[in-house]
Symmetry: C2
Subunit: 415 residues, 2 copies
């Protein structure tokens, strides 16, 4: 394959993770060190930065600050949730992107995101091919939801999983200090796939995790839920429940909406929402009369870089690096995926595979139903075996004043 | 002072912290290693364990498991919120305690807790003196609220402060990934004292903390709050707010109750509470129409041992150890407090002082008003100088399977 000389753009898109910048660093560092990539641009807020012509010249950043990206949560270049229209319908965005690509002689485009971002990648790539503009386009995955099709797992998932499992263990201890009854409902992210909620089960390896775990892969029944909680509570006086934000009943209606329906309207006519955890905790209090607490892991689960998995950081970096090396060697239209391998001692090893963007875009991977117990209120050993290797390793994260030292980029705009 | 031979009891009381067990370990280890303490008993659920005659024989625990207490959050012996009556009013509890003390030949009593626990200590001590039972009684402080009178700071505060500051920095990054507006309201523990909420300001050393910080030491005005948020939001498109759960208006009414008043009543007639953060976030959404998020640090801030301050762990251990050594050497009726010192290089050093239980019990220490800015929406450098040395140091916490390895006590009941 011929060597293609030109600049590259790296953009970040969708909800951030603790390690999304480790992937970006994998792209940036490798691109800066390559012979044929002439300039490395970071797009401000993903594809919006391309459309708005706001590109940062990454070559002007200090090498040390770039390295801090390994430990810095949340898209350092900025993110967006911009969805490109089909070019057949409206090609104005594509024309603009082509214009910018030409302006900066962009021959490599790396997009760091989830399903939607792979769709963006795919559409841009198809357009560039249709107009005969040579450009190599690679997807670099990220998502705490772990729902990307075709890859064993996604960068960002393991660190969020480690946050969830560790925090559940701590809450388990806290919820047990008094000799009085206590039901604790923990709400975890994941609208359509229960991967992250399932990670709470890792806390049960040492017996310090949730008693009940509900994923959106199975229908949720409020009465069955109360019966489940009661059974645990009668036995032990405590019950810790992990629920995915996306749990829904058999009609597909979100349980979170049950609470929203009865939510009070404030002076401005807006509904005051308390969240799923608060709703379920209140419901249990109403039926059982016991002490309850609803806890939402909220943004912390996706930005808790202080609990990042070293394995996840390394794999995230590797996915970015691989995207660049593959593109340089001629690959295009692919997302870098992971393949699970084991060495001769049976230890987990992360293999790399390349996947067609067309296959990845807009398809969701869910927790296999056979990994969920018959009752639909827990996961089994298959899940533990799957997730445990991913959360291993503690990075030597940089500190300043006893607090995290995140990357401070200069973000010098390219002319 | 004569050497007093006999057993000791250590009990834990009140809300737990990340390092309350480091204090307990200071007591247990020192007592086990002492010559004159014949037996070391852990009371199950604080003073309730004494009243119920449920004492664990700490001498039968593995030394290694006891050492893990340094890194194990939440009262390992169990806690309680039991308040002793005045003995003049009803002395049945005291008679029972005396009976148990005699049964086990208890001559040392160490109580690990906050204001109420110091009150318990004090009452028991006065009673034992009144009936002529020789027993040395020492208070070992703990509280994330940092509100104990007379001591520079309290074991448990710094670790919670480190959790708050670190997490605020991560949320700051997360809240900035999109180029759209965002107001984030973070609710932090502390009903009467704002120490822990003030700790969010440590995140501002690197400019990655809340824009606005509201403590219960100052009256809170909802209209002023909206004006404050608007001013920041107009300037930067983002606004992060930290509020103490105990903020109240000028009549003393809790802002959290504002939301409760309008809370919907569920099928069982119970009010569905969404929490202060949710209330304020919804209120901002109503007045400003922007994207909002309410976040509650909930139990995580007091059990987040994975972010414990090494300084806090060491000082907590020291307070427990000092209590035992002092009691052995004849001291009684004191709480171990901290005194701030500086070495010749100006570095913070923790000094020890002993305080009368009578003075400590039931008095609350608040954030000095002169450490709060004139607007009442932030704290100043005096607070930073005070809190920063306390959060320093990262412990080498034990892990198993990439997750915390907490102490697993056998809890063998004494006969």
């Amino acid at each position: 394959m011929s060597q293609l000389k030109g600049a590259c753009i790296i953009g970040q898109s969708g909800g951030p993770t603790s390690v999304i910048n480790a992937s970006a660093y994998g792209v940036i560092r490798t691109a800066l060190d390559s012979g044929c990539i002439t300039k490395v641009y970071g797009a401000a807020h993903g594809i919006k930065g391309v459309l708005d012509d706001v590109l940062y010249d990454m070559g002007q950043e200090d090498a040390k600050e770039l390295e801090y990206l390994l430990y810095t949560p949340s898209s350092a270049l900025g993110s967006c949730r911009y969805k490109l229209k089909d070019s057949a319908e409206d090609d104005s965005d594509y024309k603009r992107i082509l214009e910018i690509f030409k302006k900066y002689d962009v021959r490599y485009f790396f997009y760091n995101g989830g399903n939607d971002s792979m769709d963006t990648c795919n559409k841009i790539s198809k357009y560039m091919q249709s107009v005969g503009y040579e450009c190599r386009i690679m997807g670099v995955p990220k998502t705490i939801d772990n729902d990307l099709f075709g890859t064993d797992h996604c960068p960002g998932y393991a660190s969020a999983a480690k946050y969830v499992a560790t925090t559940c263990m701590e809450i388990y201890r806290d919820a047990r200090v008094y000799d009085t009854g206590m039901v604790c409902v923990i709400e975890i992210m994941g609208r359509h796939a229960g991967w992250l909620t399932a990670a709470s089960s890792l806390a049960n390896i040492s017996g310090e995790g949730p008693d009940l775990i509900y994923l959106p892969e199975r229908d949720f029944d409020l009465n069955k839920f109360v019966e489940d909680v009661k059974a645990v509570y009668v036995r032990s006086g405590k019950c810790i429940v992990a629920v995915s934000e996306g749990i829904h009943d058999s009609t597909g209606k979100l349980i979170a909406e049950y609470g929203a329906e009865n939510a009070p309207v404030d002076a401005f006519g807006h509904k005051q929402l308390g969240g799923l955890a608060a709703y379920l905790a209140n419901y249990i209090k109403g039926t059982m009369g016991c002490k309850v607490r609803g806890i939402e892991f909220s943004l912390m689960q996706r930005c808790g870089a202080h609990l990042a998995s070293l394995t996840d950081i390394q794999e995230s970096f590797l996915s970015g690096k691989t995207a660049v090396l593959e593109a340089i060697s001629g690959t295009t239209d692919k997302m870098v995926g992971f393949e699970r391998k084991y060495d001769e001692k049976g230890n987990y090893v992360c293999g790399i595979k390349l996947m067609d963007l067309t296959d990845v875009a807009n398809t969701e991977k869910k927790v296999p139903l056979e990994w969920i117990n018959r009752e639909g209120n827990n996961v089994n050993k298959e899940f533990i075996d799957y997730a445990l290797p991913l959360i291993q390793g503690t990075p030597d994260r940089p500190l300043e004043n006893g607090l995290p030292r995140f990357a401070r980029l200069k973000k010098i705009q390219a002319k």
